[in-house]
């Protein structure tokens, strides 16, 4: 235990009181049966078993003697409130019940002897409990299982005699059969014991209560408290916590009614603390935490001012601290058992307050315990030797106002002070703080946690544990830094700086100096001056001055530590990452522009600014970049003795520029860090290093504020000469991009492109360079990254003399074009064949390299110029074809071996005139009816929306396979080109597949030979040819119907036979009577044998009408006469 244990609450107060039952007559060491019984009582007691504390005692155990009962309190003056041994006595020494175990079966042969032996044992126990109300019970351990009650007559008889012999009531005799169900019997037994103990404590309460009438208020005030406490405690033992709470509350109010003076203050507070502890504990147990908190607050308010002896004021703080701590522990325990705490009411606050009082205690102890004692006889102040709680060892039992012996009082106090000096206060405080930290962490109080950690750090500092102190302070510092609480940060830094000084930790010392000199520090100017001076000393490798308010002995130690450090050669180079602090030198770096052309020098600026009181000098500034090869260009070092200097409050700008490498074209250059070197090689070199382009913890917020104010004041800020530091932004990276090309690329073409044509795009590349553009290369074709199918339907070639095939690529990469002299012009034609329609993006990429010089350095720059164009591809013309009969009637099926016509139609949809060079038919099943199929479209020019038609007379040759089948017709080929393209440009073949047709065969083919016109009253002869197309002899019936327009001669009705494959001719002479289009007399034909062919289908081959011219005028007499 720590030396603070004087203030610890006694364990018998803090435990849960349980009824005490003593077991005798058990030999648990040598008797296995007894051991098993004992184990059943006490091993693995679960919470659902009755609350009893068992103890095995020998049968002849001496119990504490009962003092003779006082008959009158008249002359009695109490010496204290509560004896230190009382609670222990009733918890562990005075049993509520003594149980005697005795092995005896009902049918024991030596029953008489055993019975008297048992009675003797009971008597022994009774004697040693002389004067106490403790109950005695007997348990008979039996080997046989008992019969049900009432059946064993011997048993009931012998039980009665045993009870008589032992002077026991029947309720106090138990039988424990030692059989299988031991635990079950034991549980029944202990429930019975519990009832007995309840009765015992009840009588005890009654006994204590009965004293009350003898007491008077003047002399027995202490006894009022004592009795109430005892009643409450007995109630607790009886497990009557509601009443216990009630009596404790009474006791609590009584304790504050006591006359308090300096001599008994400690006793009163101690008892008040005990009772308060009990009340709070019971309140938490009853799940009324608010009552507990209220009681505790009342307790604190009542006791806060009861300081007692001024010389021992630290004792009051220690006691207060303990009150808060034990309440915190009770609270915490209740939470572990399921209570929920909240952010503003959790144990952390109590631990924190406990720590706070411990800090007070430490301060008071430091003030009061100055005197060193030539201690001749150390007074025993151990509380263990006290009779009553809270009394002074040198005047125990003394209750009057003045101390009995002034001299003794003085030495006593002095001894207490001496003892207090050895108390490890810091240890206590830190333990309490860390308890509080754990709680606040749990209840979402990060700032409270940080605050407590600062206090812990400070306490470690006081305890001279600087390493731990720095560790804690450093940990929380960043919270205050990011939340921008500068006053708090400065305070923490000041403590940290002291630690660093006392440890002679050079790096930490420099870091804290740097930040305390920075703009976030709230230190006064003279403090900053002092710190700056110290910093300069450290940079010169000298010992800095001690920080103020340091312990003088520690300063001496620190000074020798520093001397050791300084003497140590080497390790005088330090790199400090300052980004996460707010250092006294600020740095912001930026590239001039987010991108630079490779033929321009890359420029960057580093802005530095010092915030310390005096100008600060440094010897080197360097910027590191992502490509380290450039680093050599971004260094500035002081020349000789002259070092570079920063004037406080002024922005200093350093410019760097370098030429980017041509390999870095298209890459990013990033600043990876900026370094400023303070000090020199002769002393100590400290590199302040910023990651990226500088800035620190506070700069983002400052930039935001600056932008807010500049937004308001517009250009006013910008117009100032010096750039406003806060509004300077970082530009940590730049892109190197290729040199601007000085060539022109022009495209000339006639959009849209026509499907399948060789579309010509003329490219003109002209150099405007001053030097020779070397290795000019052209990449032309479909721009990559479009629809994948476009790549397969687009073909690019340079050769425009013939139509390219599918093997031509979609993109022609890197066509070498040689060198291009200044002003020279190059023309290239690119031909594109687009197999599908739709838009396409074409890319023309001209790349070259050129020698150029940047800042006197020769570099070879690669330049390129891209030109893209979107070209739509359209269909040049639409082709339609149809089949008609020789009478120009639409045919849906073609008759075999009968001539018909194929008519094609080409409709131009091209915006440009088209030249149709020729057309041809490729026939599959049919043949031409005319000997030479000649294109009727040769050299026809079609303008937009014009169309060209052709007509071919064809015939399907007779076939021997089955009729009514569908056959392919063939293809129609058109070769064409744009009218505007040159004569030598290739012709494009467009193939149109003609539709399939359905064939049919006719049994009889009739056609007529007929003149092209007739004349009124002039005979015209018509010959009908009737062909039998079947392999059978056909019988044909023919009849000519009369007509108004004609007279005719010939067979009016005939029946004839036609042999297979042969032809019959019928000749008629028609004599027209009327002029104009006249319907010929109808020829009705029927084939009686072949029913499928009717008149109508046969008749379609025959001409229907004929044009009849009027009669030629002949100047004859008759007509003249008629006129």
């Amino acid at each position: 235990m720590m030396a603070g244990s004087q203030w610890e609450l006694p364990p018998e107060l803090c435990c849960r009181p349980m009824a005490f039952v003593a077991l005798t007559g058990l030999d648990v060491v040598y008797n296995a049966v007894h051991r098993a019984i004992w184990d059943a009582f006490c091993v693995n007691r679960r919470a659902d078993r009755v609350p009893i504390s068992f103890k095995v005692l020998p049968g002849d155990h001496e119990y504490p003697k009962c003092r003779t009962k006082r008959t009158s309190y008249e002359w009695y003056i109490p010496k204290g409130i509560l004896k230190t041994g009382w609670m222990h006595k009733h918890l562990n020494l005075v049993p509520a019940l003594v149980v005697l175990f005795y092995e005896l079966d009902w049918d024991d042969p030596t029953w008489k002897e055993k019975q008297s032996e048992c009675a003797t044992k009971v008597e022994i126990v009774r004697t040693s409990l002389q004067g106490r109300n403790t109950k005695v019970a007997v348990v008979l351990i039996q080997k046989k299982t008992p019969l049900p009650p009432g059946e064993d007559l011997v048993a009931s008889e012998r039980a009665a005699t045993l009870c008589n012999a032992c002077d026991l009531s029947g309720k106090s005799l138990f039988v424990l059969p030692h059989t299988d169900h031991l635990v079950g019997y034991i549980i029944r037994l202990e429930n019975a014991f519990y009832e007995h103990s309840q009765t015992y404590y009840y009588t005890e309460i009654r006994r204590v209560k009965s004293h009350k009438e003898f007491l008077n208020k003047t002399t027995h005030q202490l006894l009022f408290v004592r009795h109430q406490f005892k009643i409450a405690f007995f109630s607790e033992l009886k497990q009557d916590t509601q009443n216990a709470l009630k009596y404790y509350r009474t006791a609590y109010s009584l304790v504050h009614e006591l006359r308090a003076h300096e001599t008994n203050m400690l006793e009163i507070k101690t008892m008040a603390g005990f009772i308060n502890y009990k009340i709070c504990r019971l309140c938490f147990q009853h799940n009324t935490p608010l009552d507990a908190i209220a009681q505790f607050r009342k307790h604190i308010d009542l006791c806060k001012k009861k300081i007692g002896s001024a010389e021992l004021a630290f004792e009051h703080s220690a006691w207060m601290s303990k009150q808060f701590q034990s309440f915190g522990e009770l609270f915490d325990e209740a939470i572990k058992l399921g209570l929920t705490a909240i952010q503003t009411q959790n144990p952390g606050f109590y631990y924190q307050q406990a720590a706070c009082y411990s800090q007070d205690r430490k301060q008071l102890a430091q003030q009061l315990c100055q005197a060193s004692l030539p201690s001749p006889e150390p007074v025993d102040t151990q509380s263990g030797g006290l009779d009553f709680y809270g009394q002074r060892a040198w005047r125990q039992g003394h209750q009057s106002i003045d101390p009995p012996d002034a001299e003794k009082e003085k030495t006593g106090i002095l001894a207490q002070q001496m003892k207090e000096r050895d108390v490890p206060h810091s240890e206590l405080i830190i333990a309490l703080l860390s308890n509080a930290v754990a709680q606040f962490k749990k209840y979402k109080c990060p700032r409270m946690k940080s605050h407590l950690m600062v206090q812990m750090g400070e306490e470690y500092y006081h305890a001279k544990d600087y390493t731990k102190s720095l560790k804690l302070l450093d940990y929380v510092m960043c919270d205050y830094r990011t939340e921008r609480w500068w006053a708090l940060l400065s305070a923490i830094l000041t403590t940290a700086l002291r630690c660093a000084y006392l440890m002679a930790s050079v790096k930490d010392y420099i870091i804290y100096c740097m930040e305390l000199l920075g703009r976030a520090s709230t230190l006064k100017e003279e403090q900053k001056l002092r710190i700056e001076k110290n910093l300069l000393k450290v940079l010169k490798n000298e010992v800095p001055e001690a920080e103020p308010e340091c312990d003088p002995s520690s300063v001496t130690a620190a000074r020798s530590l520093w001397n050791d450090r300084m003497a140590l050669a080497g390790s005088n180079e330090l790199t400090i990452e300052v980004q996460d602090y707010i250092p006294f030198i600020q740095c912001k770096a930026r590239f001039h522009s987010p991108s630079f052309h490779v033929d321009q020098p890359v420029q960057l600026k580093v802005f530095l600014r010092a915030d310390c009181p005096h100008p600060v000098s440094f010897n080197k500034l360097s910027v590191s970049l992502s490509n380290q090869e450039y680093n050599q260009w971004c260094v500035v070092e002081s020349a000789g003795e002259e070092s570079m200097s920063l004037v406080p409050g002024k922005t200093q700008c350093y410019n760097f520029s370098f030429v980017a490498k041509t390999e870095d074209v298209g890459k990013k250059i990033e600043m990876t860090g900026v370094e400023v070197m303070l000090g020199s090689d002769s002393g100590r070199c400290v590199f302040l290093s910023w990651r990226g382009a500088g800035g620190d913890v506070a700069s983002t917020h400052e930039a935001l504020q600056a932008s807010r104010s500049s937004r308001r004041w517009g250009r006013g800020v910008q117009a100032r000469q010096e750039p406003d530091w806060d509004s300077l932004t970082l530009q940590p990276s730049t892109m190197v991009i290729s040199r601007v090309p000085k060539v022109s690329v022009q495209l000339s073409h006639q959009p849209p492109a026509l499907n399948n044509e060789m579309y010509c795009i003329n490219l003109t590349v002209q150099s405007q360079e001053e030097g020779v553009a070397k290795d000019v290369k052209l990449t032309a074709g479909l721009k990559p990254g479009q629809d994948a199918t476009l790549g397969q339907t687009t073909h690019v070639t340079l050769d425009g003399s013939k139509v390219c095939d599918d093997s031509a690529p979609a993109l022609l990469p890197d066509l070498p074009l040689g060198d291009l002299h200044p002003g020279q012009k190059l023309e290239i034609s690119v031909h594109v064949k687009c197999v599908s329609t739709g838009p396409r993006v074409f890319l023309f990429h001209v790349a070259y390299s050129i020698d150029t010089s940047v800042e006197g350095r020769q570099i070879v720059c690669k330049c390129h110029k891209d030109e893209t164009v979107t070209i739509e591809t359209v269909v040049p013309f639409e082709v339609s074809a149809k089949f008609v009969s020789t009478k120009f009637e639409q045919l849906d099926r073609l008759a075999v071996d009968i001539p018909f016509l194929l008519m094609t139609d080409i409709l131009s949809t091209s915006p440009w005139p088209l030249l149709l060079a020729s057309s041809s038919l490729q026939l599959l099943t049919m043949t031409s009816n005319t000997p030479q199929l000649q294109s009727q479209l040769q050299e026809v020019v079609l303008q937009t929306d014009e169309s060209a038609s052709e007509c071919f007379c064809l015939r399907v040759p007779p076939m021997n396979n089955n009729n009514n089948n569908t056959v392919a017709t063939g293809q129609y080929l058109i070769s064409w080109r744009r009218k505007s393209s040159g004569v030598d440009s290739p012709l494009i073949q467009t193939t149109v597949t003609l539709s399939h047709v359905i064939l049919e065969t006719v049994p009889l083919y009739i056609h007529a030979d007929l003149p092209s016109f007739g004349r009124v009253r002039e005979s015209l002869s018509v010959r009908y040819h009737i062909e039998n197309r079947t392999s059978l002899v056909q019988e044909v019936e023919m009849a000519v119907e009369p007509s108004d327009a004609f007279m005719f001669s010939g067979l009016k009705q005939v029946r004839l036979r036609i042999l297979p494959g042969s032809e019959q001719q019928m000749l008629y002479n028609y004599y027209p009577l009327m002029a104009g289009y006249q319907t010929l007399p109808q020829l009705n034909i029927s084939l009686p044998r072949c029913l499928t062919a009717n008149t109508h289908s046969l008749r379609r081959f025959l001409p229907q009408r004929i044009f009849v011219k009027p009669q030629g005028r002949q100047l004859d007499e008759a007509s003249i006469a008629a006129a």
Binding site: K444, M448, H701
Partner: protein
């Protein structure tokens, strides 16, 4: 009357802190700073519940042995924290409310000043005057 009055920015850094000069100023900084834990918790708890109407006055944030800390949050999440001596039992809730209202009004005036950049620390004589009127007079 108050022993410490402070205005805290939305981002939880101090815009203004004034405390009675007789006592340790740093202690009040810590008290105000730690009280932000409770303020944050209260604000976030309101955010979850229905309705945006929130009372600006947060009431007693937490009691310490020596001080009572009261909080108030404007709609723009600027916090006012007033620390009152625990022994000062004469102050009623209503009076604390009216102190906050006065403070808020004065703060609004500061914000309306076209020469003031929001987010900067408050340097206003008028505001100082109002605060002084609410502080315990030293001596």
């Amino acid at each position: 009357m108050a022993v410490c009055i402070s205005v805290i920015a939305k981002e939880n850094y101090p815009l203004y802190i004034r405390s009675v000069p007789t006592q340790n100023e740093l202690k009040f900084h810590y008290t105000v700073h730690t009280s932000l834990d409770v303020v944050e918790e209260k604000i976030s708890a309101v955010g979850k519940s229905l309705g945006d109407q929130r009372e600006l006055y947060l009431g007693l944030l937490y009691p310490t042995e020596d001080y009572k800390v009261y909080g108030y949050v404007t709609n723009s999440k600027v916090k006012f924290v007033i620390v009152v001596d625990s022994s000062n039992t004469s102050l009623r809730d209503n009076e604390i409310r009216s102190m906050f209202r006065k403070l808020h009004n004065s703060f609004t005036d500061v914000m309306c000043n076209p020469f003031h950049t929001p987010g900067d620390t408050i340097q206003s004589k008028a505001f100082d005057g109002i605060v002084s009127g609410m502080m315990v007079q030293a001596g």
